[in-house]
Point group: C2
Chain length 328, copies 2
């Protein structure tokens, strides 16, 4: 079994939170890890069971221009991770660092799957009461898109949903501002036309923002601008709601009692619905597995994302996308 | 004081819910109303204090093609409402019906304010802990926009925020997928350039989806596609959160007790944060006041929206927009 290449230097709390997450992976699973980072960082995890380390002298910072930094910093942890996947020394790359750098490294080093126009970020969004999340893509890789790219996103998202969550014939919809055909902006209208004729997916038409967490659609296709706005809007909305809910519960006589009883049950829920824990969005379309974590990931999120990366690595996702898109 | 022209026929629960809302307005305020609808509908409110009725033989249904219906149904309630504003017989129009029909009637009958390229829908989004909501525009009138239109939306939104919520120098941002200049799709990048040189507003740069309910920006400018997706995503997210919160509270021994205590406090909150109660989004840029309610509005939402319409009617909003845009 090949290891997961983990970028020790990526994330707001790196390398400490990453190292802590790896320690848990080492203790609680048999997942092999290739931990990549500066000598100081790798010393934090060197010697852990199932952990191999690889030193990299450079770091791409969270706010650096990604494409430029990746080209210049050839000995950075994220570039070394991508090379490990390219060379078959790792089954997947995981980084909670600069998203653009993870994308650029993957693109430069692993390359695109043949016939894929652009890779897309596929994010899983939990829906209360459903075992499987909704897949939203593109959630940020391509700010401006063409209808043809969105068709490829639809195919890749459908494969991902089907393989990862065992959903038969996943329901794919294009995100719009009305359910009827003909509603939307020009991109959506043209995409709708193309998807209607698309035999590789189960296209159910337009969906709206309110459907994303509702459970009637499995894969939501959109351009990377809209998708990213959706993600961050949900994140902000959840925070506002949680804040307001605490406010509603607190200014009363029996508030302490209520809070004591309610919070242990509400906290996991807020965590589940929080964008901080979407962790491990998949970059679909590159010729190797790249999972991107939220920058604010703590040890728990890192642990979850690595377990997820290992699961996906065993699905044959890249091969399935290659086969499906070979006729594109 | 001129009356508010109210479309009795608009909304999922029309005319009963509208009539019930009007009854409360009549009892609890001095706001004069011009109630417009079929003979059967107007009979429900005829005789109420401060209510004048106007019969209209036709109705534009919720799912009708708006522009076509408004042209064809010259004696529809929504068209008659718009004519009343145009002719100075009413100070504002309020409808919870077909949004497109309210927009089309206003455009055809009242016309645009001189130099306004396109009217935009300005929606108020509550932010917990803040007295004033965030203004989001365009939230659905124009699916495809140009940078120049977005600049006008910014100016109109700033005036609205300042007049209605007494915010001095409202902070205006363009919705994007990164805070730094240069982040976003091509529309946002061009809009950013124009807004940076715009002297009529307090432009603070890009904002992200998570800032909409956070309180650091007063006016969020975006195209009507993205704005509408944001609104409906928030609506769906709130529902999912509320559903999950109830689920988290229920499967326990003392669930009944907790629910009994918590729900009376959580319900108004869910209502406040629910898109159903944004009610009374303003169509800015037409030469007369048009307020659009959510289709699902019940009597309470109708009452609130009419009180809101009356407040806005007294602000001189149209005149202020006319003055600001005269140099556009």
């Amino acid at each position: 079994m090949k290891p997961i290449a983990v970028d020790l230097m990526g994330g707001d709390h790196a390398p400490a939170a990453i190292a802590e997450g790896l320690e848990r992976v080492s203790k609680e699973s048999h997942i092999p890890i290739l931990a990549v980072g500066t000598s100081e960082a790798v010393s934090m995890v060197d010697g852990l069971d199932n952990v191999t380390v690889l030193e990299a002298a450079e770091v791409v910072e969270m706010d650096e221009d990604a494409a430029y930094a990746v080209r210049r910093k050839k000995d950075s942890s994220i570039v070394r991770c991508a090379e490990a996947v390219r060379d078959g020394r790792a089954s997947a790359l995981f980084s909670a660092g600069n998203t653009g750098a993870a994308m650029a490294s993957s693109l430069f080093k692993m390359g695109r799957i043949s016939k894929v126009s652009r890779p897309a970020i596929a994010t899983t969004i939990p829906r209360p009461g459903h075992f499987a999340p909704t897949i939203l893509l593109d959630s940020g890789a391509n700010a401006d898109c063409t209808p043809e790219w969105l068709v490829q996103f639809a195919v890749m998202g459908s494969i991902y949903s089907g393989l990862r969550f065992q959903i038969e014939n996943p329901r794919v919809a294009v995100l719009s501002i009305g359910e009827e055909a003909g509603k939307g902006n020009s991109l959506v209208k043209e995409t709708y036309e193309l998807l209607s004729k698309e035999g590789r997916i189960n296209f159910i038409g337009n969906c709206e923002g309110r459907d994303i967490m509702a459970g009637d659609v499995d894969v939501v296709v959109t351009d990377g601008f809209t998708g990213n706005v959706v993600l961050k809007t949900l994140e902000g909305g959840m925070r506002a709601f949680a804040k307001a809910a605490l406010g509603a519960l607190s200014p009363t006589d029996d508030a302490d009692d209520l809070l004591t009883k309610a919070m242990p049950r509400l906290t996991p829920l807020i965590t589940e619905l929080s964008a901080d824990t979407y962790g491990g969005a998949a970059l679909l379309g590159v010729d190797g597995l790249c999972l991107i974590g939220h920058g604010s990931s703590g040890a728990e999120a890192i642990f979850n994302a690595i377990v997820e990366a290992d699961k996906i690595a065993q699905l044959g996702l890249i091969e399935a996308i290659r086969t499906a898109l070979s006729g594109s």
